[in-house]
Symmetry: C2
DNA sequence: AACTATACGGAGGATCCCTCCGCTTTGCAA
DNA sequence: TTGCAAAGCGGAGGGATCCTCCGTATAGTT
């Protein structure tokens, strides 16, 4: 999806396709589907639905243009042509908006993890997952920050993103640990933090574009079972 | 000022002690001393000096109590008993205040690096340095954030902190690389980012206190020359 | 004591977050 | 259609923060 033609969360129809993989894979996939389908909630009035979509589209565009920080909620409301009160009614806080905007992309990322769970080499799959997670996160600073802030807590913020990324990472890590390809003392949270920390520490990837690769390769190498 | 004898930047007299080490060590130490001595600048009027010190003490105490984020500059001015305008005259922005408050501690950290440069095992020295850097940074979120934000740029912000940490890390890394204890493709900036990223990704070290150790050990293991 | 360069301090402009509440619209039912 | 209550709208406004500007006060010199 390019920057034109906004395609926010409301576009994706549904999963439905079975995902190959072992027990861990199935568990993860089941969790994802459950989360993905809790959209309708309760019937919305037509105008409410309209404004909801306008807000989502405006936020999507604004986040793409500048960072998902750097944009004030007031501006998003303005661009959507609705009042600030309306924005806050639909999205009580920034996190809810982030979640709504990125939900589909995160779910898609989760799908990618499901595929990787079926790959031959657990070690390679884990490395590849980390790489995709890093690339994905690098354009979504704000999401990353919130995700890290609520990683260990059972807060009700960002439930989908947190669950998808958390379960995917844990499943891939566990598989690599079971085959002896990864140290057993590391947890999924550790890995997420290491990967996302890299992102937070990189100033929108300017200078040497190879730095992400180098840092990632250090982490991947360090993961190997000693 | 009461938070148990505040000891802000103005307290330390001067270095003067020779530091043992090789060529890299001497270069780093020389840089440090030069930076450490540029304090006086130009004579200040008595009341200006007084207010400067009061501000530094107030900032020091406030940063210690809560994070160095979490404190508004207005509050620091209030606690120092001076106007907000006075604060901004002495410290044109938050970074300058951070730099002033932490300068001495960072210089001390640099001294530690100089000692490590003379240690027997370059690999152990590097690992130990990373550990100390992480511990040091973990209570100084704000500093860490600013440091990362200006790492690669030649901005005039945080010159002392940046130089000390940058030179120390590079020197220790290079030594380990020369003895074949560390991969040759990694740069000092990479290492700083990995270490500080860990910090940024950890929510004030709550739950499992071992997580910093685990993450650090992954990085250290990953640094070993393949 | 007079005087001037310095320094003080806080009012105020700008931005942002979020809440509250009177007005408007929608969708249903008579 | 028409009427109406519930649902939704929107923006004024309070609170917080950052930072600038400029009239007033003071230190240090002549």
């Amino acid at each position: 999806m390019s920057a034109t033609e906004p395609t926010p969360a409301s576009a994706s129809p549904g999963p439905g396709d079975a995902v190959p993989g072992g027990a861990a894979a199935e568990a993860a996939a089941a969790g994802l589907e459950r989360l993905q389908s809790d959209r309708p909630e309760r019937e919305m009035r037509a105008d409410a639905r309209r404004n909801y979509d306008k807000l989502l589209a405006a936020a999507w565009a604004a986040f793409a243009e500048r960072g998902s920080d750097e944009v004030s909620l007031e501006e998003i409301a303005r661009r959507a042509g609705v009042g600030i009160g309306t924005l806050y009614r639909h999205f009580p806080n920034r996190q809810c908006l982030l979640e709504a905007v990125y939900r589909d992309q995160v779910v898609a990322l989760g799908g990618r993890a499901a595929k990787l769970l079926a790959a031959e080499s657990p070690a390679d799959a884990l490395a590849e997952w980390l790489r995709e997670l890093v690339v994905f996160s690098s354009t979504k600073r704000s999401l990353t920050r919130e995700l890290l802030a609520t990683l260990e807590t059972e807060s009700s913020f960002l439930p989908v993103c947190k669950t998808v990324i958390g379960q995917s990472t844990s499943a891939l890590l566990q598989r690599a640990q079971q085959t002896g390809d990864a140290r057993a003392d590391i947890t999924g949270s550790d890995l997420i933090r290491l990967a996302q920390g890299m992102i937070m520490a990189t100033d929108q990837a300017p200078g040497s574009s190879g730095e992400l690769d180098r840092m990632l390769s250090v982490i991947v190498a360090g993961l190997r079972a000693s």
